[in-house]
Protein backbone atom coordinates (compact mmCIF):
# COMPACT_ATOMS: atom_id res chain seq x y z
CA UNK A 1 0.00 0.00 0.00
CA UNK A 2 1.41 3.34 -1.01
CA UNK A 3 1.61 5.83 1.82
CA UNK A 4 -0.47 8.90 1.01
CA UNK A 5 -0.39 12.33 2.61
CA UNK A 6 -3.03 12.71 5.28
CA UNK A 7 -5.17 15.77 5.79
CA UNK A 8 -3.39 17.68 8.60
CA UNK A 9 -6.65 18.65 10.22
CA UNK A 10 -7.92 15.10 10.38
CA UNK A 11 -4.56 14.05 11.63
CA UNK A 12 -4.81 16.48 14.48
CA UNK A 13 -8.29 15.33 15.40
CA UNK A 14 -7.09 11.76 15.28
CA UNK A 15 -4.21 12.49 17.64
CA UNK A 16 -6.64 14.16 19.98
CA UNK A 17 -8.82 11.09 20.08
CA UNK A 18 -5.79 8.97 20.83
CA UNK A 19 -4.62 11.28 23.55
CA UNK A 20 -8.10 11.17 25.10
CA UNK A 21 -7.73 7.39 25.25
CA UNK A 22 -10.48 6.79 22.71
CA UNK A 23 -10.56 3.53 20.80
CA UNK A 24 -10.25 3.62 17.03
CA UNK A 25 -12.66 1.37 15.18
CA UNK A 26 -12.39 0.03 11.60
CA UNK A 27 -14.89 2.47 10.11
CA UNK A 28 -13.20 5.49 11.73
CA UNK A 29 -10.87 7.70 9.82
CA UNK A 30 -7.20 6.92 10.52
CA UNK A 31 -3.85 8.09 9.16
CA UNK A 32 -2.59 5.85 6.37
CA UNK A 33 0.61 5.28 8.24
CA UNK A 34 -1.31 4.25 11.36
CA UNK A 35 -3.11 1.75 9.17
CA UNK A 36 0.00 0.40 7.50
CA UNK A 37 1.93 0.12 10.76
CA UNK A 38 -0.93 -1.80 12.30
CA UNK A 39 -1.23 -4.10 9.33
CA UNK A 40 2.46 -4.83 9.59
CA UNK A 41 2.32 -5.46 13.32
CA UNK A 42 -0.87 -7.45 13.39
CA UNK A 43 -0.06 -9.67 10.44
CA UNK A 44 3.39 -10.36 11.90
CA UNK A 45 1.64 -11.25 15.07
CA UNK A 46 -0.71 -13.59 13.22
CA UNK A 47 2.16 -15.20 11.33
CA UNK A 48 3.97 -15.73 14.61
CA UNK A 49 1.06 -17.69 15.97
CA UNK A 50 0.92 -19.85 12.88
CA UNK A 51 4.67 -20.48 12.57
CA UNK A 52 4.78 -20.94 16.32
CA UNK A 53 2.73 -24.08 15.90
CA UNK A 54 5.68 -25.84 14.33
CA UNK A 55 8.32 -26.02 17.07
CA UNK A 56 5.78 -27.16 19.62
CA UNK A 57 3.89 -29.36 17.17
CA UNK A 58 7.17 -31.19 16.72
CA UNK A 59 6.61 -32.87 20.11
CA UNK A 60 2.91 -33.75 20.04
CA UNK A 61 3.53 -37.28 18.84
CA UNK A 62 6.24 -37.80 21.45
CA UNK A 63 4.62 -36.30 24.55
CA UNK A 64 5.47 -38.49 27.55
CA UNK A 65 1.96 -38.78 29.01
CA UNK A 66 -1.56 -38.67 27.65
CA UNK A 67 -2.36 -35.69 29.83
CA UNK A 68 0.59 -33.74 28.47
CA UNK A 69 -0.19 -34.79 24.92
CA UNK A 70 -3.70 -33.39 25.24
CA UNK A 71 -2.48 -30.17 26.85
CA UNK A 72 0.10 -29.63 24.12
CA UNK A 73 -2.22 -30.44 21.25
CA UNK A 74 -4.78 -28.12 22.72
CA UNK A 75 -2.22 -25.38 23.11
CA UNK A 76 -1.09 -25.64 19.52
CA UNK A 77 -4.70 -25.62 18.42
CA UNK A 78 -5.22 -22.44 20.42
CA UNK A 79 -2.36 -20.88 18.52
CA UNK A 80 -4.04 -21.68 15.25
CA UNK A 81 -7.13 -20.03 16.68
CA UNK A 82 -5.15 -16.95 17.65
CA UNK A 83 -3.75 -16.83 14.15
CA UNK A 84 -7.21 -16.95 12.67
CA UNK A 85 -8.45 -14.32 15.07
CA UNK A 86 -5.56 -12.00 14.29
CA UNK A 87 -5.90 -12.45 10.53
CA UNK A 88 -9.53 -11.43 10.90
CA UNK A 89 -8.57 -8.40 12.96
CA UNK A 90 -6.05 -7.47 10.28
CA UNK A 91 -8.73 -7.76 7.63
CA UNK A 92 -10.66 -4.96 9.33
CA UNK A 93 -7.84 -2.74 8.07
CA UNK A 94 -8.34 -3.88 4.50
CA UNK A 95 -5.51 -6.41 4.27
CA UNK A 96 -6.89 -9.78 3.24
CA UNK A 97 -5.65 -13.00 4.76
CA UNK A 98 -4.57 -14.33 1.36
CA UNK A 99 -2.52 -11.22 0.77
CA UNK A 100 -0.65 -11.24 4.07
CA UNK A 101 -0.24 -15.02 3.96
CA UNK A 102 1.33 -14.71 0.55
CA UNK A 103 3.84 -12.25 1.98
CA UNK A 104 4.75 -14.79 4.64
CA UNK A 105 5.21 -17.62 2.16
CA UNK A 106 7.36 -15.46 -0.08
CA UNK A 107 9.57 -14.59 2.86
CA UNK A 108 8.63 -10.92 2.72
CA UNK A 109 6.80 -10.81 6.03
CA UNK A 110 8.38 -11.44 9.38
CA UNK A 111 7.28 -13.50 12.32
CA UNK A 112 8.69 -13.76 15.80
CA UNK A 113 12.31 -14.88 15.55
CA UNK A 114 11.96 -17.11 18.57
CA UNK A 115 10.35 -19.76 16.40
CA UNK A 116 13.51 -20.09 14.36
CA UNK A 117 15.07 -22.08 17.17
CA UNK A 118 14.59 -25.85 17.27
CA UNK A 119 12.83 -27.82 19.99
CA UNK A 120 15.41 -30.46 20.78
CA UNK A 121 13.87 -31.99 23.86
CA UNK A 122 10.52 -32.25 25.55
CA UNK A 123 11.71 -29.73 28.10
CA UNK A 124 12.07 -27.17 25.33
CA UNK A 125 8.36 -27.26 24.74
CA UNK A 126 7.65 -26.73 28.41
CA UNK A 127 10.16 -23.92 28.60
CA UNK A 128 8.52 -22.30 25.59
CA UNK A 129 5.27 -22.37 27.49
CA UNK A 130 6.87 -20.77 30.48
CA UNK A 131 9.32 -18.28 28.97
CA UNK A 132 8.07 -17.56 25.47
CA UNK A 133 4.41 -17.39 26.41
CA UNK A 134 5.49 -15.47 29.46
CA UNK A 135 7.23 -12.91 27.28
CA UNK A 136 4.30 -12.79 24.90
CA UNK A 137 1.90 -12.10 27.72
CA UNK A 138 3.91 -9.11 28.87
CA UNK A 139 3.81 -7.71 25.38
CA UNK A 140 0.17 -8.56 24.83
CA UNK A 141 -1.02 -7.19 28.11
CA UNK A 142 0.24 -3.87 26.89
CA UNK A 143 -1.31 -4.34 23.45
CA UNK A 144 -4.64 -5.15 25.05
CA UNK A 145 -4.74 -1.43 25.82
CA UNK A 146 -3.85 -0.54 22.23
CA UNK A 147 -5.74 2.27 20.56
CA UNK A 148 -7.07 0.08 17.74
CA UNK A 149 -10.23 -1.65 18.91
CA UNK A 150 -10.09 -4.95 17.04
CA UNK A 151 -6.44 -5.43 17.98
CA UNK A 152 -6.95 -4.66 21.63
CA UNK A 153 -9.97 -6.96 21.84
CA UNK A 154 -8.05 -9.77 20.15
CA UNK A 155 -5.27 -9.27 22.66
CA UNK A 156 -7.59 -9.48 25.64
CA UNK A 157 -8.86 -12.83 24.51
CA UNK A 158 -5.49 -14.20 23.45
CA UNK A 159 -3.83 -13.05 26.65
CA UNK A 160 -6.26 -15.03 28.71
CA UNK A 161 -5.45 -18.25 26.90
CA UNK A 162 -1.75 -17.61 26.94
CA UNK A 163 -1.75 -17.10 30.66
CA UNK A 164 -3.22 -20.56 30.89
CA UNK A 165 -0.52 -21.93 28.57
CA UNK A 166 2.17 -20.29 30.59
CA UNK A 167 0.80 -21.77 33.78
CA UNK A 168 0.80 -25.24 32.26
CA UNK A 169 4.34 -24.85 30.98
CA UNK A 170 5.62 -23.54 34.27
CA UNK A 171 3.93 -26.44 36.07
CA UNK A 172 5.85 -29.01 34.03
CA UNK A 173 9.07 -27.03 34.34
CA UNK A 174 8.61 -27.19 38.09
CA UNK A 175 7.88 -30.92 37.98
CA UNK A 176 10.99 -31.57 35.94
CA UNK A 177 13.18 -29.25 38.01
CA UNK A 178 12.21 -31.33 41.03
CA UNK A 179 12.23 -34.64 39.15
CA UNK A 180 14.91 -37.21 38.38
CA UNK A 181 18.48 -36.04 37.74
CA UNK A 182 17.91 -36.58 34.02
CA UNK A 183 14.80 -34.41 34.08
CA UNK A 184 16.60 -31.69 35.99
CA UNK A 185 19.41 -31.70 33.49
CA UNK A 186 16.99 -31.70 30.59
CA UNK A 187 14.99 -28.74 31.80
CA UNK A 188 18.06 -26.71 32.81
CA UNK A 189 19.58 -27.38 29.38
CA UNK A 190 16.37 -26.14 27.75
CA UNK A 191 16.41 -22.95 29.82
CA UNK A 192 20.04 -22.42 28.91
CA UNK A 193 19.16 -22.58 25.25
CA UNK A 194 15.91 -20.57 25.36
CA UNK A 195 16.68 -17.78 27.81
CA UNK A 196 18.56 -15.49 25.48
CA UNK A 197 16.39 -16.01 22.43
CA UNK A 198 13.41 -15.15 24.62
CA UNK A 199 15.14 -11.99 25.80
CA UNK A 200 15.51 -11.04 22.15
CA UNK A 201 11.76 -11.32 21.61
CA UNK A 202 11.27 -7.77 22.85
CA UNK A 203 13.31 -6.43 19.99
CA UNK A 204 16.29 -4.07 19.80
CA UNK A 205 17.17 -1.51 22.43
CA UNK A 206 14.93 1.55 22.40
CA UNK A 207 17.66 3.55 20.66
CA UNK A 208 17.66 1.09 17.77
CA UNK A 209 13.92 0.76 17.49
CA UNK A 210 12.71 3.26 14.92
CA UNK A 211 9.03 2.36 15.09
CA UNK A 212 8.62 2.53 18.83
CA UNK A 213 8.16 6.26 19.28
CA UNK A 214 5.52 6.46 16.59
CA UNK A 215 3.63 3.49 17.95
CA UNK A 216 3.67 4.95 21.41
CA UNK A 217 2.49 8.32 20.13
CA UNK A 218 -0.47 6.57 18.49
CA UNK A 219 -1.30 4.61 21.53
CA UNK A 220 -0.60 1.26 19.91
CA UNK A 221 2.17 0.55 22.37
CA UNK A 222 2.50 2.12 25.77
CA UNK A 223 5.89 0.77 26.81
CA UNK A 224 9.27 0.57 25.13
CA UNK A 225 11.09 -2.63 24.26
CA UNK A 226 13.52 -2.22 27.10
CA UNK A 227 10.76 -1.55 29.60
CA UNK A 228 8.95 -4.69 28.55
CA UNK A 229 12.15 -6.71 28.68
CA UNK A 230 12.77 -5.48 32.21
CA UNK A 231 9.31 -6.62 33.33
CA UNK A 232 9.97 -10.00 31.79
CA UNK A 233 13.27 -10.41 33.62
CA UNK A 234 11.89 -9.27 36.94
CA UNK A 235 9.05 -11.70 36.80
CA UNK A 236 10.79 -14.76 35.37
CA UNK A 237 13.92 -14.64 37.43
CA UNK A 238 11.72 -14.95 40.49
CA UNK A 239 9.81 -17.81 38.98
CA UNK A 240 13.06 -19.58 38.11
CA UNK A 241 14.31 -19.20 41.64
CA UNK A 242 11.10 -20.61 43.04
CA UNK A 243 11.68 -23.95 41.31
CA UNK A 244 15.46 -24.09 41.44
CA UNK A 245 16.21 -23.23 37.83
CA UNK A 246 19.35 -21.26 37.07
CA UNK A 247 19.22 -18.38 34.61
CA UNK A 248 22.22 -18.57 32.26
CA UNK A 249 23.35 -15.00 32.80
CA UNK A 250 26.37 -14.46 35.06
CA UNK A 251 25.68 -10.74 35.18
CA UNK A 252 22.23 -11.14 36.58
CA UNK A 253 21.93 -9.24 39.85
CA UNK A 254 19.18 -7.67 41.87
CA UNK A 255 19.50 -3.94 42.32
CA UNK A 256 18.05 -3.04 45.71
CA UNK A 257 17.72 0.59 44.80
CA UNK A 258 15.76 0.28 41.58
CA UNK A 259 13.96 -2.86 42.68
CA UNK A 260 14.85 -4.41 39.32
CA UNK A 261 17.17 -7.13 38.13
CA UNK A 262 20.15 -6.03 36.12
CA UNK A 263 21.24 -8.36 33.39
CA UNK A 264 23.89 -9.02 30.77
CA UNK A 265 23.96 -7.81 27.19
CA UNK A 266 22.15 -9.67 24.44
CA UNK A 267 24.21 -11.09 21.58
CA UNK A 268 22.91 -8.66 18.98
CA UNK A 269 24.83 -10.32 16.17
CA UNK A 270 22.82 -13.42 16.74
CA UNK A 271 19.66 -11.35 16.96
CA UNK A 272 20.16 -9.66 13.61
CA UNK A 273 21.32 -12.86 11.99
CA UNK A 274 18.12 -14.63 12.90
CA UNK A 275 16.03 -11.64 11.85
CA UNK A 276 17.79 -11.68 8.50
CA UNK A 277 16.78 -15.29 7.96
CA UNK A 278 19.91 -17.01 9.19
CA UNK A 279 18.61 -18.62 12.35
CA UNK A 280 18.98 -22.32 12.93
CA UNK A 281 15.48 -23.08 11.69
CA UNK A 282 14.41 -20.20 9.41
CA UNK A 283 14.62 -22.29 6.29
CA UNK A 284 12.94 -25.30 7.83
CA UNK A 285 10.03 -23.23 9.12
CA UNK A 286 9.46 -21.57 5.77
CA UNK A 287 9.78 -24.88 3.99
CA UNK A 288 7.21 -26.47 6.28
CA UNK A 289 4.69 -23.68 5.70
CA UNK A 290 5.35 -23.57 1.98
CA UNK A 291 4.94 -27.32 1.66
CA UNK A 292 1.73 -27.30 3.67
CA UNK A 293 0.41 -24.53 1.44
CA UNK A 294 1.52 -26.28 -1.74
CA UNK A 295 0.11 -29.65 -0.63
CA UNK A 296 -3.15 -28.01 0.33
CA UNK A 297 -3.66 -26.28 -2.99
CA UNK A 298 -5.85 -28.99 -4.48
CA UNK A 299 -7.97 -29.05 -1.33
CA UNK A 300 -8.61 -25.32 -1.41
CA UNK A 301 -9.39 -25.47 -5.11
CA UNK A 302 -11.84 -28.30 -4.53
CA UNK A 303 -13.61 -26.41 -1.77
CA UNK A 304 -13.94 -23.37 -4.01
CA UNK A 305 -15.17 -25.33 -6.96
CA UNK A 306 -17.68 -27.17 -4.81
CA UNK A 307 -18.96 -23.90 -3.39
CA UNK A 308 -19.27 -22.52 -6.90
CA UNK A 309 -21.28 -25.53 -8.03
CA UNK A 310 -23.59 -25.27 -5.05
CA UNK A 311 -24.13 -21.58 -5.68
CA UNK A 312 -24.99 -22.31 -9.27
CA UNK A 313 -27.47 -24.98 -8.26
CA UNK A 314 -29.13 -22.62 -5.85
CA UNK A 315 -29.38 -19.91 -8.44
CA UNK A 316 -30.93 -22.30 -10.93
CA UNK A 317 -33.40 -23.57 -8.37
CA UNK A 318 -34.56 -20.09 -7.46
Amino acid sequence: MAEQQDDPKKLEEFQERIDNGETIEPKDWMPSRYRSQLIRMMSQHAHSEVVGMLPEGNWITRAPSLRRKLILLSKVQDEAGHGLYLYSATETLGASREEVLQQLLEGKAKYSSIFNYPTLSWADVMVIGWLVDGAAIINQTMLARSSYGPYSRAMVRICKEESFHKKQGYEMVATMAQGTPEQQEMVQDAVNRWWWPTMMMFGPHDDDSPNSAELIKWGVKSKTNDELRQSFVDRHVEEAKAVGIEIPDPELEFNEETGHYEFGEIDWDEFWNVVKGNGPMNRERMKAKQEAHENGKWVREAAEEYARKKRLQKEKAS
Partner: protein
Protein backbone atom coordinates in the same frame (compact mmCIF):
# COMPACT_ATOMS: atom_id res chain seq x y z
CA UNK B 1 -13.77 -58.57 33.85
CA UNK B 2 -10.98 -59.59 31.53
CA UNK B 3 -13.31 -59.39 28.59
CA UNK B 4 -14.44 -55.93 29.60
CA UNK B 5 -10.86 -54.79 29.95
CA UNK B 6 -10.08 -56.15 26.49
CA UNK B 7 -13.17 -54.50 25.08
CA UNK B 8 -12.25 -51.11 26.51
CA UNK B 9 -8.71 -51.45 25.21
CA UNK B 10 -9.95 -52.19 21.71
CA UNK B 11 -12.09 -49.08 21.73
CA UNK B 12 -9.32 -46.99 23.23
CA UNK B 13 -6.54 -48.21 20.93
CA UNK B 14 -8.57 -47.35 17.83
CA UNK B 15 -9.06 -43.83 19.07
CA UNK B 16 -5.55 -43.23 20.33
CA UNK B 17 -3.89 -44.35 17.13
CA UNK B 18 -6.31 -42.49 14.90
CA UNK B 19 -5.87 -39.40 17.05
CA UNK B 20 -2.12 -39.77 16.73
CA UNK B 21 -2.35 -39.80 12.94
CA UNK B 22 -4.62 -36.78 12.99
CA UNK B 23 -2.30 -34.92 15.32
CA UNK B 24 0.44 -35.27 12.70
CA UNK B 25 -1.48 -32.70 10.65
CA UNK B 26 -1.02 -30.02 13.27
CA UNK B 27 0.63 -27.05 11.57
CA UNK B 28 0.58 -28.73 8.16
CA UNK B 29 -3.07 -28.52 7.13
CA UNK B 30 -4.34 -27.13 3.81
CA UNK B 31 -5.96 -24.14 5.53
CA UNK B 32 -5.82 -22.78 9.03
CA UNK B 33 -9.44 -23.72 9.68
CA UNK B 34 -8.55 -27.35 9.02
CA UNK B 35 -5.50 -27.20 11.26
CA UNK B 36 -8.00 -26.31 13.93
CA UNK B 37 -10.67 -28.79 12.90
CA UNK B 38 -8.32 -31.76 12.61
CA UNK B 39 -6.61 -30.90 15.89
CA UNK B 40 -10.05 -30.76 17.39
CA UNK B 41 -10.95 -34.23 16.20
CA UNK B 42 -7.55 -35.48 17.34
CA UNK B 43 -8.14 -33.96 20.76
CA UNK B 44 -11.51 -35.68 20.98
CA UNK B 45 -10.15 -39.04 19.87
CA UNK B 46 -7.18 -38.99 22.20
CA UNK B 47 -9.36 -37.60 24.96
CA UNK B 48 -11.88 -40.41 24.47
CA UNK B 49 -9.09 -42.95 24.52
CA UNK B 50 -7.71 -41.46 27.74
CA UNK B 51 -11.08 -41.87 29.43
CA UNK B 52 -11.37 -45.43 28.15
CA UNK B 53 -7.86 -46.37 29.25
CA UNK B 54 -8.47 -44.91 32.64
CA UNK B 55 -11.61 -46.93 33.04
CA UNK B 56 -9.87 -50.02 31.69
CA UNK B 57 -7.17 -49.65 34.35
CA UNK B 58 -9.90 -49.33 36.95
CA UNK B 59 -11.72 -52.41 35.67
CA UNK B 60 -8.47 -54.33 35.66
CA UNK B 61 -7.92 -53.34 39.25
CA UNK B 62 -4.19 -53.89 39.38
CA UNK B 63 -3.30 -50.32 40.14
CA UNK B 64 -1.95 -49.52 36.71
CA UNK B 65 -2.07 -45.97 35.42
CA UNK B 66 -3.61 -45.41 31.99
CA UNK B 67 -0.20 -44.30 30.72
CA UNK B 68 1.26 -47.70 31.63
CA UNK B 69 -1.14 -49.23 29.15
CA UNK B 70 -0.38 -46.69 26.47
CA UNK B 71 3.38 -46.37 26.74
CA UNK B 72 4.47 -49.85 27.73
CA UNK B 73 2.78 -52.14 25.26
CA UNK B 74 4.41 -53.17 21.97
CA UNK B 75 2.60 -53.29 18.65
CA UNK B 76 1.62 -56.96 18.97
CA UNK B 77 -0.23 -56.06 22.16
CA UNK B 78 -2.15 -53.21 20.60
CA UNK B 79 -5.71 -54.07 19.62
CA UNK B 80 -6.67 -51.36 17.14
CA UNK B 81 -7.90 -52.11 13.64
CA UNK B 82 -5.29 -51.71 10.92
CA UNK B 83 -7.19 -48.89 9.26
CA UNK B 84 -6.29 -46.34 11.90
CA UNK B 85 -2.55 -47.05 11.88
CA UNK B 86 -2.00 -46.42 8.16
CA UNK B 87 0.09 -43.29 7.52
CA UNK B 88 -1.90 -40.08 7.33
CA UNK B 89 -1.54 -39.82 3.56
CA UNK B 90 -2.89 -36.74 1.84
CA UNK B 91 -5.85 -34.73 3.09
CA UNK B 92 -8.20 -36.87 0.99
CA UNK B 93 -6.97 -40.05 2.62
CA UNK B 94 -7.38 -38.54 6.05
CA UNK B 95 -10.93 -37.43 5.28
CA UNK B 96 -11.91 -40.76 3.73
CA UNK B 97 -10.67 -42.64 6.77
CA UNK B 98 -12.46 -40.20 9.06
CA UNK B 99 -15.73 -40.75 7.25
CA UNK B 100 -15.49 -44.55 7.39
CA UNK B 101 -14.39 -44.62 11.00
CA UNK B 102 -16.64 -41.85 12.33
CA UNK B 103 -19.71 -43.41 10.72
CA UNK B 104 -18.83 -46.69 12.40
CA UNK B 105 -18.19 -44.96 15.71
CA UNK B 106 -21.44 -43.11 15.46
CA UNK B 107 -23.60 -46.21 15.07
CA UNK B 108 -21.61 -48.06 17.70
CA UNK B 109 -21.83 -45.32 20.29
CA UNK B 110 -25.52 -44.76 19.58
CA UNK B 111 -26.03 -48.31 20.83
CA UNK B 112 -23.33 -48.47 23.50
CA UNK B 113 -24.78 -45.45 25.27
CA UNK B 114 -27.46 -47.76 26.67
CA UNK B 115 -24.92 -50.29 27.96
CA UNK B 116 -25.64 -51.77 31.36
CA UNK B 117 -22.68 -50.21 33.05
CA UNK B 118 -23.36 -46.72 34.15
CA UNK B 119 -19.84 -45.37 34.20
CA UNK B 120 -19.21 -46.78 30.73
CA UNK B 121 -22.47 -45.68 29.15
CA UNK B 122 -22.15 -42.24 30.68
CA UNK B 123 -18.75 -41.83 29.08
CA UNK B 124 -20.04 -43.08 25.75
CA UNK B 125 -22.99 -40.73 25.83
CA UNK B 126 -20.72 -37.81 26.50
CA UNK B 127 -18.39 -38.71 23.63
CA UNK B 128 -21.20 -39.37 21.19
CA UNK B 129 -21.89 -35.68 20.80
CA UNK B 130 -18.37 -35.11 19.57
CA UNK B 131 -18.48 -38.09 17.27
CA UNK B 132 -21.50 -36.60 15.56
CA UNK B 133 -19.38 -33.57 14.79
CA UNK B 134 -16.58 -35.79 13.42
CA UNK B 135 -19.05 -37.48 11.13
CA UNK B 136 -20.48 -34.19 9.93
CA UNK B 137 -17.04 -32.74 9.33
CA UNK B 138 -15.79 -35.73 7.31
CA UNK B 139 -19.06 -35.97 5.40
CA UNK B 140 -18.88 -32.34 4.35
CA UNK B 141 -15.32 -32.68 3.17
CA UNK B 142 -16.07 -35.90 1.33
CA UNK B 143 -18.71 -33.99 -0.60
CA UNK B 144 -16.38 -31.08 -1.30
CA UNK B 145 -13.53 -33.28 -2.48
CA UNK B 146 -15.64 -35.84 -4.31
CA UNK B 147 -17.72 -33.22 -6.10
CA UNK B 148 -14.99 -30.59 -6.31
CA UNK B 149 -12.32 -30.62 -9.00
CA UNK B 150 -11.25 -33.57 -11.12
CA UNK B 151 -8.06 -33.85 -9.12
CA UNK B 152 -9.81 -33.86 -5.78
CA UNK B 153 -12.34 -36.37 -7.07
CA UNK B 154 -9.60 -38.74 -8.19
CA UNK B 155 -7.62 -38.34 -5.04
CA UNK B 156 -10.39 -39.11 -2.61
CA UNK B 157 -11.68 -41.90 -4.81
CA UNK B 158 -8.22 -43.48 -4.68
CA UNK B 159 -8.25 -43.07 -0.91
CA UNK B 160 -11.55 -44.89 -0.54
CA UNK B 161 -10.37 -47.62 -2.87
CA UNK B 162 -7.26 -48.12 -0.80
CA UNK B 163 -9.06 -48.06 2.52
CA UNK B 164 -11.91 -50.35 1.55
CA UNK B 165 -10.07 -53.59 2.26
CA UNK B 166 -9.69 -52.47 5.87
CA UNK B 167 -13.34 -51.68 6.54
CA UNK B 168 -14.66 -55.12 7.36
CA UNK B 169 -12.29 -55.43 10.32
CA UNK B 170 -14.31 -52.71 12.04
CA UNK B 171 -17.05 -55.31 12.41
CA UNK B 172 -14.83 -58.04 13.78
CA UNK B 173 -16.32 -59.88 16.77
CA UNK B 174 -15.19 -62.77 18.90
CA UNK B 175 -15.82 -64.33 22.30
CA UNK B 176 -15.04 -61.02 24.00
CA UNK B 177 -18.01 -59.44 22.27
CA UNK B 178 -20.23 -62.46 22.80
CA UNK B 179 -19.61 -62.51 26.52
CA UNK B 180 -20.24 -58.81 26.87
CA UNK B 181 -23.32 -58.86 24.67
CA UNK B 182 -24.77 -61.37 27.09
CA UNK B 183 -24.00 -59.02 29.95
CA UNK B 184 -25.68 -56.18 28.15
CA UNK B 185 -22.49 -54.20 27.79
CA UNK B 186 -21.33 -54.77 24.22
CA UNK B 187 -23.56 -54.76 21.16
CA UNK B 188 -23.78 -57.01 18.13
CA UNK B 189 -21.97 -55.11 15.41
CA UNK B 190 -23.97 -56.91 12.75
CA UNK B 191 -27.01 -55.04 13.96
CA UNK B 192 -25.87 -51.90 12.27
CA UNK B 193 -23.57 -53.11 9.54
CA UNK B 194 -26.21 -52.49 6.88
CA UNK B 195 -26.99 -49.07 8.24
CA UNK B 196 -23.30 -48.22 8.15
CA UNK B 197 -23.02 -49.44 4.57
CA UNK B 198 -26.07 -47.43 3.63
CA UNK B 199 -24.77 -44.23 5.18
CA UNK B 200 -21.37 -44.58 3.59
CA UNK B 201 -22.92 -45.43 0.26
CA UNK B 202 -25.22 -42.43 0.43
CA UNK B 203 -22.39 -40.03 1.19
CA UNK B 204 -20.15 -41.43 -1.53
CA UNK B 205 -22.93 -41.29 -4.08
CA UNK B 206 -23.82 -37.76 -3.17
CA UNK B 207 -20.14 -36.96 -3.55
CA UNK B 208 -20.32 -38.43 -7.09
CA UNK B 209 -17.90 -41.16 -6.04
CA UNK B 210 -17.94 -44.80 -6.94
CA UNK B 211 -18.68 -47.10 -4.03
CA UNK B 212 -15.99 -49.81 -3.94
CA UNK B 213 -17.01 -53.45 -3.73
CA UNK B 214 -18.07 -54.45 -0.22
CA UNK B 215 -17.47 -58.09 -1.16
CA UNK B 216 -13.80 -57.76 -2.02
CA UNK B 217 -11.10 -59.46 0.01
CA UNK B 218 -10.98 -57.90 3.45
CA UNK B 219 -7.98 -57.48 5.73
CA UNK B 220 -8.19 -58.57 9.31
CA UNK B 221 -5.93 -59.15 12.27
CA UNK B 222 -5.67 -55.88 14.19
CA UNK B 223 -7.85 -57.02 17.07
CA UNK B 224 -5.53 -59.99 17.56
CA UNK B 225 -2.37 -57.92 17.46
CA UNK B 226 -1.59 -58.63 13.82
CA UNK B 227 -0.81 -55.20 12.46
CA UNK B 228 0.87 -53.58 9.51
CA UNK B 229 4.49 -52.56 9.81
CA UNK B 230 3.42 -48.94 10.31
CA UNK B 231 2.27 -49.34 13.89
CA UNK B 232 5.72 -50.25 15.19
CA UNK B 233 7.19 -47.05 13.78
CA UNK B 234 4.34 -44.99 15.19
CA UNK B 235 4.85 -46.48 18.64
CA UNK B 236 8.62 -46.03 18.49
CA UNK B 237 8.04 -42.33 18.12
CA UNK B 238 5.19 -42.14 20.60
CA UNK B 239 6.84 -44.12 23.37
CA UNK B 240 10.52 -43.26 23.00
CA UNK B 241 10.75 -40.49 25.58
CA UNK B 242 8.48 -42.10 28.12
CA UNK B 243 10.29 -45.42 27.91
CA UNK B 244 13.67 -43.71 28.05
CA UNK B 245 12.90 -42.37 31.52
CA UNK B 246 10.42 -44.80 33.00
CA UNK B 247 10.94 -43.62 36.57
CA UNK B 248 10.27 -39.97 35.88
CA UNK B 249 6.97 -38.16 36.47
CA UNK B 250 5.49 -36.58 33.38
CA UNK B 251 2.05 -35.49 34.50
Amino acid sequence: KEAFFEYLIRLADDRLILGHRLSEWCGHGPILEEDIALANVALDDIGHSAALYEYAAEVEGEGRHRDDIVYFRDDVDYRNVKMVELPKGDFGFTIARQLLFSAFSYFLYERLKDAEDEQFSGMIDKHLKEIKYHLRHSREWTLRLGDGTEESHDRIQAAFNELWTYTDALFYMDEVDELLIEKGIAVDLNDFKDEWKQLVTDVLEEATLEVPDFDQFMQSGGRKGLHTEHLGHLLAEMQHLRRSYPDATWE
